[in-house]
Amino acid sequence: MKKRRPNGKKLSWNQKCKLCMVPFLIGTMLFTLLPFVRVIYYSFLKSQFRKEFVWLDNYKRTWENEYFQLALRNSVFLIIKCVPILIGLAIVISLLLVFVLNKNEIIRSAFVLPMVIPTASIVIVWKLFFAHWGNGLPLYLLFIWKNLGICVVLLMAEFSSIKKELYEAAVLEGASWWKIDIGITLPIAAPTILFTVLLSIMNSYKVFKESYLYYGTNYPPDYAYTLQYYMNNHFLKLNYQNLATSAVYTTILSVVLIVIGLRIVGRYRE
């Protein structure tokens, strides 16, 4: 006996999906959005202990701070330098694994390994290999190596789900391997690629743990000083206002990147 709504109508698929999302939305609302709104509120105060509105003074001060600018620059550079390489590598490896080697299951597990190895042990090995490198390359490599696996797994799943008939039709019409990928695989997988890009951007913020262990200080070389260092140091300095404004700036940066990503994907799919 199927349950029916009081008016006798069954729930549509979309309605059922929305209903399932309600607990998640409530959780996001309570534990992410509301606290973030309070963060915004505090970013307009002189101090959380002296509740005096200073409007945009904190934003201005943070923006003008040379070390915030350095941190922001380094964080953006990390994204610009590493994320395209990471995604490009992940796409190539996924395509090879799905369409050439056909060894999904075994290799999938191997690629996830970097994510489960404890950071401390990875950093020890990294220090052995890159002991005297006076630039950010070791950190960039660490970031790419650690995140490549999850990107490959996500993309492999997407590529595997594309219907074989599409490729067969393209082959019959004489399309090259390159044209098939550009014309069929990538447009279909574009949303997943965008998702991996966003995930990688988010993970670039999280590379702080590895960086902190690698450099072993709150004040790493200038080229490695990212927004997370800036925020962590202000946490220890009890400076909630700088933390809040930095968090807002970071969010703005992420939103801008997401919007740009969506636009690019939208145009590509058109």
């Binding site: 101090s47 202990f49 002296r50 509740k51 200080t217 140091n233 946490f235 220890l236 300095k237 009890l238």
Partner: protein, 681 residues
Amino acid sequence: MKKVRTVVGILFLMLLFAGCSEEPKETDKEFEEKTEREFEDDESAGNGFHYNLKEAAAYTIDGEDILVSYDGNPVVERYNENGEKTGEMDLGGELHTNLMVNGDCLFAVTFTGKGMQITEYNMKTEELIAHPLPSDMTSILSMAVTEQDIYLITWSDYVHSDEEGISGYDESDDYLYMGERAIVIPQDTYEIKDMPIQNVIALYQSTDSEVVYYAHDETDGFYFVTYDSEKKEFGEKVYNNAFGYTFGFAFDAEEDRVITANFSEQKLLLGHLNDNNAVADLEDQIVVMTGNDIKYRNGYCYVLDDLTRDVIRIELESVLVDNSEIVFYQMTDFDETYGCGYTIRAETLEEDEFALSVMAQNSQYDLCKVSTDVQVASEIREKGAFYALSDVPGVEEYLEACHPYIREAATDESGEVWMLPIDVQIPVLLYQEENCKEYGIDVEKLEGFKELVEVADRLYEKTELRDWYSLNGYQMRSNAIDKYNEGYIRRSGEVEYDMPVFRELCELFKEYRPGERESLHTWMTQITALGGDEDEYYGKYLLNLAYFWEFAGSDERIYTELRARALPEVGDEQTPNYGTCTYLSVNPNSENLENTLDYISAYCSYMMGRKDTYLFQEERMPYPDTPLSKDLHEIYKNGGISFWIPENIFWDDYLSYQENELSLDELVEELNRKVSMYLNE
């Protein structure tokens, strides 16, 4: 739909701004009313009635009187509640200790030329009976006398017999077995028997027929257990680790309260039998050495203070404050702060845990106790994470009495008092002037750290002098760098390590590497190693880098024999004698604000009564007319409080420089970069 959206929007905004009100809390208002109250500047230190006795050896209570024995005196004297002598009893012998009264009889452990005995003196009939104790029994720690038996805790060769189950040192709670044994002597036979209680520490007679033992077991720590002398049976063990090791205690059987003395902190404490945490301080600067020196009777605690050898009577209700527990957050395991009768509890947190608590506006703590050598010390002021103390009764008077630089450090830019400084420790060079001159060392004329370490080299060359000086290389290096940071970086506001002064310091401490350079050692002969021979000790004493807390409780001889000077300058510039300050700061979000501010007020009163501190402009220190005391006063007068730049910024690079992994130029460059970042990010 619009209505629903409006309601959701309103609820959202209410939730958002909940707790953001700028209305003062109820407790704030209540406290503001209280500030009208006159602050009593109590000049007399201490809480109780002092009997003004000299060289008292033991005492006991008889009704409202006390009976007191003295060193080398066979007479026991009687004093009434006003401290007036009203009679005396001659018990014979040379010294009477562990006095106890039971009925009409006064009991004492008496030392005679032949050994120890228990003396039983009938105060009505003046009849005297002596019961000799075994010759191998060298000391009695505690005694209780009931109708039937005499109970003792002994400390002697006799008790050192190997016996299973008796533990040695317990690292977890600092318990140390020192040969104590519980014995019982029935009054009818006077036959000595062991009580079946191991690792016993002390006992107290709580009623006419009940004795409470304090003991330790390896699994659960310290415990109390009662023994009924009529039924000859023990009660249930009550574990309580709030008091730790102690020589004696008193027990209030009606309210299950325990009064004891903490030997290392020199405080008299009160706690409840069943409460493992909350302990209130009754009195400061009290040392109790034997189990019969603390007693409780009818709301009063009596204590024989081993420092002054005087008996003090403290009315508990006048000292104890019925407050909600005041919680301290701290990042270092400090000595316990004096509670002024308030129930207080300290929790030690990691620096990041503390930062999270402050930023989350945690209301679960009331005070933080911070030393200026940790990073957050100055941040509490910078970020306004404090309740301003300017209007708290007593704070102004206290700060007014302190040296100006202490007051300055306690005041923020807007003139608000943001913290209460409770201690300042300035490193000093303690030296024996004549002995140093004999070896050609004029300590007063040492101009820099280089001369100081050269002195260490010269002294170390002569084998016979090695044990008579101590210059801790690590401490010297830290002090030198701190002096540079405060005097050259913070004062000028410019980060510049590329200075000849700093380079010379780095090179000096690279050459004189702490931990490796044998002449910069930390060991020095202690007076105890000479069997307390002060003449020999001061006859050879040379030089020691020390802080005041290390010798604060010393007797007068050190103040007359030694001199002190501040550490040398790191360059040509004259800088203050920098030291670190420990302070209390009130949590602005405390739920217990009223009690906390009252406690701050009481603490100011307590500090104002102290006579053993160099914080004050007026000379209020031990033995004020002695050379050492005058030197220390001068050093503190020209002092300064340093807020340390976090050491982790320095040491990695500094150690790399020491290991030749970094050149001096690279070190200087790195420090300039990191400290600029720290100060300006």
